[in-house]
Symmetry: C2
Subunit: 339 residues, 2 copies
DNA sequence: CTGAAAGCGCTAACAG
DNA sequence: CTGTTAGCGCTTTCAG
């Protein structure tokens, strides 16, 4: 009936370690808290014993006691846009390196994030990184009051109290306007993404401002409706009717779809007959079949800022960061002479 | 000093509900367990009160008590291969629909999954879905003994006790061999992916068997080393030296890279000069620039089987499922006459 | 610096 | 069917 030493029933707990060493259980808990006071001698004794027994603090129990979990939720809307799969990949990695776990939370299209967020709270999630989805500032405030950070990637909200980090979409739009104008384009079309996204709005605003400053304008504006390859192709058909010499698609996936439709369905040459530019610089933009000139979003900086923000202490102030995009010129724009 | 009713300090707990209704706390716990016995009258009274107070059971506490979490970990190796981002997307959605949360666990390239798995155990993760990574059968057995299901997607292990679900890679390889032979190809090259993956091995085996059965063979075999666009391009250069009339790339991303290199760097026409086929049917394979003939993996079936397996009761038997792939013919293979 | 004790919020026997 | 009583494994005062 006596306990066999080597053969525990469950996983080893702090009490097992305590018993082995003849110290109190709370001591071994402290030994794993850097800021707690334990004599150096005991601390090393404890970590050694812990390793020997294969002890690791149970995160769930800790979470129950502390009300934190060191897990952050990544909220994702559609993953149709490859840009976000890149973000997700880097995010997961960065969080991991910061000692945080990622709970992936995929919002079905058409569903509102806000409704699902309370459910997340029950997991004691420490923070929220929202990419490719929106969130009401009321909910954001609730989380904040509860000392849980929320940061938006590539989306901004009016409420200044919620951290958001994004690319300078407006400035990017301007750069593209300048590029197209400088190279002599006269008949420009803008293909818009979903109308309720701030990315789309800012890119368009920047582009339009850039044009107007130089007394130029659009020959037309097409609404693609969503960010997808097929929507880009469909938009290209409608755009082609306008006989443009340059098209700015609100993002790369749209541009790629458009490019292919222009070439393979509309029998137009890009860039000879019409130039096209996009935004994001997803991986496929650099593939030889496309060679799309576009604005590169500084994904890794965005990701590390986001992780830093979510890991920041509660006292830290929520601020919005906007990082400049980089124009990368490839083969989809041609200099036009004459006229 | 008396408690104000409306103004709790923390979130509302089961005890708050109990107090309000004048019943025991355990009763309210039972009310949320369908299999527990509570008088119908009380049950409805409780759920109403709960809703009124905004009570929801705390998952962490539950997890501590039950040693389960309704969280399953998705283990992902590289997300470079777009095939897996599709899998991930669907997986997250399917798990969500099954009432499970997904903890995303990204294994850095070159790292071994096994080392990180114990860390996951501390989260009381109910199960493990491993995609694009390997796991030792020792670890798998450990989890299993602990009543936590592990299922592999697109990877098999010798040990029959771990569930695995994959596409019939071997059969797919055969189909491709037949296709290429039927259309009169004589100089075939196989471009291999990472040598230690079962996907690569099976596809190659199936392909070779298909060839040998018809007394055909390869004119060469190239090792791409990894599953990536650039690796495919590099492999295409080496393959071209062999003057092939048909190339089977071990998967689509390789094939796409190869296709582009063949056309834009090697100045070869596909399929006129050389046919190419891939495997997976990732989204880009259907893009007009590529129109790649390939084998479609039944991703949604694979995903739902995986979720079913991970949610299965402990008594359920771990079995391996292999689903047939579907040949989808597009424009990258040409019928060859003569000789 | 260390130990004792009181929770965190829930589940699960066990009596009644 | 319902209440009581122990925990789950850890953190955190509070004394010593």
């Amino acid at each position: 009936m006596s306990k066999q030493p080597g053969r525990q029933k469950g996983p080893v707990t702090s009490r097992d370690v305590a018993r082995l060493l003849g110290v109190s259980q709370s001591m071994i808990s402290r030994a794993f808290d850097p800021r707690a006071s334990v004599s150096p001698a005991n601390r090393t004794r404890i970590v050694e014993a812990a390793r020997a027994l294969g002890y690791e603090p149970n995160v769930i129990a800790r979470s129950l006691a502390t009300r934190r979990s060191s897990i952050v939720a990544i909220v994702m809307g559609s993953m149709e846009n490859p840009f976000y799969t890149g973000v997700l990949d880097q995010l997961a990695q960065a969080l991991d390196e910061a000692g945080l776990r990622s709970l992936l939370f995929r919002v079905p299209p058409g569903q509102d994030v806000d409704d699902q967020l309370p459910a997340l709270r029950r997991y004691n999630v420490d923070g929220l990184i929202v990419a490719s989805a929106s969130i009401s500032s009321r909910i954001a405030a609730e989380w904040r009051r509860d000392d849980r950070r929320v940061v938006l990637i590539n989306r901004t909200v009016p409420d200044a109290s919620v951290a958001s980090i994004s690319c300078d979409n407006c400035g990017g739009g301007r750069q593209l306007a300048d590029l197209l104008l400088d190279s002599g384009h006269k008949r420009l079309v803008y293909v818009a993404g979903p109308r309720n996204t701030s990315t789309n709005r800012d890119r368009e605003d920047g582009f339009m401002e850039g044009l107007m400053e130089r007394n130029a304008g659009l020959v037309g504006r097409i609404d693609a409706g969503e960010y997808s390859f097929n929507a880009g192709a469909a938009a290209a058909h409608r755009a082609a009717a306008l006989k443009p010499d340059g098209i700015f698609f609100a993002n790369d996936i749209l541009a790629l779809g458009g490019l292919d439709a222009l070439r393979h369905e509309l029998r137009l040459q890009v860039p000879k007959h019409v130039s096209v530019v996009g935004f994001d610089d997803i991986e496929m933009a650099s593939w030889p079949s496309y060679r799309l000139t576009t604005i590169r979003q500084p994904v890794s900086e965005m990701v590390s800022s986001a992780v830093a923000a979510v890991a920041a202490s509660a006292t830290a102030q929520a601020n919005s960061i906007s990082l400049p995009g980089l124009l990368v010129e490839r083969g989809s724009v041609m200099r036009r002479h004459g006229m």
